[in-house]
Amino acid sequence: MSEATVSTGFNPADPESRRRLMAGVDAVPGSAKPDAILKVDNITRAFGGMTAVDVDHLEVQRGVITALIGPNGAGKTTFFNLITGFDKPSSAGSGAHWSFQGKTLDKTSASSVARSGMVRTFQLTKALNRMTVLDNMMLGARDQSGENLLKCCFKPLWSGQEKDIEVRAKDLLQRFKLLEKKDDYAGSLSGGQRKLLEMARALMSEPTMIMLDEPMAGVNPALTQSLLGHIQALRDDGMTVLFVEHDMHMVRHISDWVVVMAEGKIVAEGAADVVMSDPAVIDAYLGAHHDADLGDDSLMTEETMAQLAREARIEEGTSNE
């Protein structure tokens, strides 16, 4: 991976380098990227008569953070499921094609996708409740010889590797502020802590690309800050990040590129500030007042409130028709 980045003169840790790289990309749906790690073509998924995902073409740039945003029901999670092998596209066999690092994934099982270096987390967190936090983490490590049935009965064959994995697991737990919980059952963690655990566990497998499905949902603000730092640090180390998130603050703050989905299709692509000023995106997803901080009283001026009330009345009127 580092070879590819060197050859293009791109340094993921340098914001200016990232900005220059992405500035050369057209801000149109399905635009080509200079060094796409993931390429998706003609992938559709229909549930009965409803088409949840209908993506003609999408490329994800290597070494940057790409955000996938869109309203509820836009098909973001289904899209994740499809490309990670957890679901099969309806268009399988009729033009659906996607590849990761040049490796075709059309018929690859979920576990093989993960082994090829593309590891995901889930929107509904999948912490392994009745296992300790440390066991959760250690499951994440790849290529464990002790997971082979023939070798597992002989401890000397795997105890060395086990120690290394434990060191790495504790190190990651430390970074995610979960180290003191290592002997607790994962089921006793709070929702936000489970999100952290799931992300840390995914990192145990040392992925090339990590796909986070709403990593910040339910995580408190202070922790969100440090989590953002972690994600940026991963990117700076050369990892590719694709994440689904509704928190626009986070999207704006850390993403180098934003992809917008609505009703199963990619409707916009571009740098965060470009996309967020796109009238189509505002209309479909953000809403006219996406910049107003509803929690901040200073913004609740009489004019704003009056305006909001007027709009509410108009919407009520239209919905009554």
Partner: protein, 373 residues
């Protein structure tokens, strides 16, 4: 719901979990103490009390209790550690017994015959696993319970009388000799108080010694398996298979391995089960599967020693219930045949109460309790 229970349980029990060695010592100590107590009561107490204790003692150390314990250890690998719902463990036992007995009757030597019995369980596991393990867990439950019944009905079929003896089964004396000939215990009768058996006879000390040694061996194997990263993988699959897939593990292969190992242990249990008796297809039907489940839940699923403790407690407790009912209830209300049935009813009620009030069993860690429906 699950989360809430788990959280509450963690707050409740902050003590550190016991290590397997500690647990083993506690269980071994408790079992030995219980047996000594039974022996003393059986030897010296007068009347009904003594006879109940003698019955419980005989049942507790019986080779068939050991056989069921082995099958329950296999079931524990299925359900306790991997979360596979096998409701047909008796089918594995019956196949093991047929494989062993028919081989010996056809002139196969002892060790290859045992291996054939185990292979019968392995092949059965593969046949059941291939179509069902990619589906949701319930399907394995449905398939195992029906497949076990199919095995029993095929065994009973008069078309196979020459091989399986049909409903009559195979008499023990036709396949047991190569096993009893191996005994190095010598001849004659040996008694420890009221426990008096032939050294090498049909149902003697030799088969007890071998049966319980095999139980110990199976416990050791379970311990080695589940403490390893492979065992961690099993528990991960039990908790959430999709999460395991997302970490790049081949969950199907691991589930298949667990199903095969547990099935082979079931077959081994079946072989031990028929050594002191005969191969009777109806003795290894649905009810034996449910006894195995009761013993597993009683002892504690997902523990190392739970299956052994559960099996001993289950069979001894049933004798206690029957003996007490015989002694207390006059014959005009319940004769001894009816108390036999009554004892099974009590066992069923006990299973329900167990699942409701102590789902983790005697040894289970409440924080890791299995009942998560």
């Amino acid at each position: 719901m699950t989360t809430d229970t788990a959280t509450a349980a963690t707050l409740e029990e902050t003590k550190t979990p016991r290590s397997p060695l500690q647990e083993g010592l506690i269980v071994a100590g408790a079992v030995v103490a219980g047996l000594v107590l039974l022996w003393v009561v059986g030897e010296f107490a007068p009347g009904a009390m003594g006879s109940i204790a003698r019955g419980m003692m005989r049942e507790a150390i019986s080779p068939q209790t050991a056989a069921v314990a082995i099958a329950v250890i296999g079931l524990n690998i299925h359900f306790g550690f991997t979360g596979l719902l096998n409701i047909g463990q008796a089918g594995f036992m019956l196949l093991g017994a047929y494989g062993f007995a028919i081989s010996i009757r056809s002139g196969v030597p002892l060790i290859p015959a045992v291996i054939i019995g185990l292979l019968a369980g392995v092949v059965f596991a593969l046949i059941l696993g291939v179509p069902t393990l990619k589906l949701r867990g319930d399907y394995l439950a449905i398939v195992t319970i029906s497949a076990a019944e199919i095995i029993r009905y095929v065994g009973r079929s008069s078309l196979l009388t020459e091989w399986t003896g049909a409903a009559q089964g195979l008499q023990g004396k036709t396949y047991r000799d190569p096993f009893t000939d191996l005994s190095f215990f010598g001849d004659g009768e040996f008694s420890i108080g009221f426990l008096s058996y032939q050294m090498t006879g049909v149902n003697g000390w030799w088969v007890r010694f071998v049966g319980w040694s095999l139980v110990a061996l199976c416990v050791l194997i379970t311990f080695l398996l589940v403490r390893s990263p492979w065992g961690r993988l099993l528990r991960g699959i039990r908790e959430d298979e999709a999460a395991i897939l997302s970490l790049g593990k081949n969950a199907f292969a691991v589930k298949m391995q667990a199903l095969v190992i547990g099935g082979a242990l079931g077959a081994l249990g079946g072989i031990v089960y028929v050594l002191p008796a005969s191969v009777q297809p109806d003795a290894m039907g649905r009810s034996l599967t449910f006894f195995a489940w009761t013993a597993l839940l009683l002892g504690g699923a997902a523990t190392i020693f739970g299956p052994v403790l559960g099996s001993i407690l289950f069979f001894a407790a049933r004798i206690f219930i029957k003996g007490t009912a015989d002694a207390v209830v006059p014959d005009s209300l319940m004769n001894s045949q009816q108390t036999e049935q009554f004892s099974w009813i009590v066992v069923g009620v006990a299973l329900m109460l167990l699942v409701i009030f102590r789902p983790q069993g005697v040894l289970g860690d409440k924080r890791e309790l299995r009942f998560n429906v």
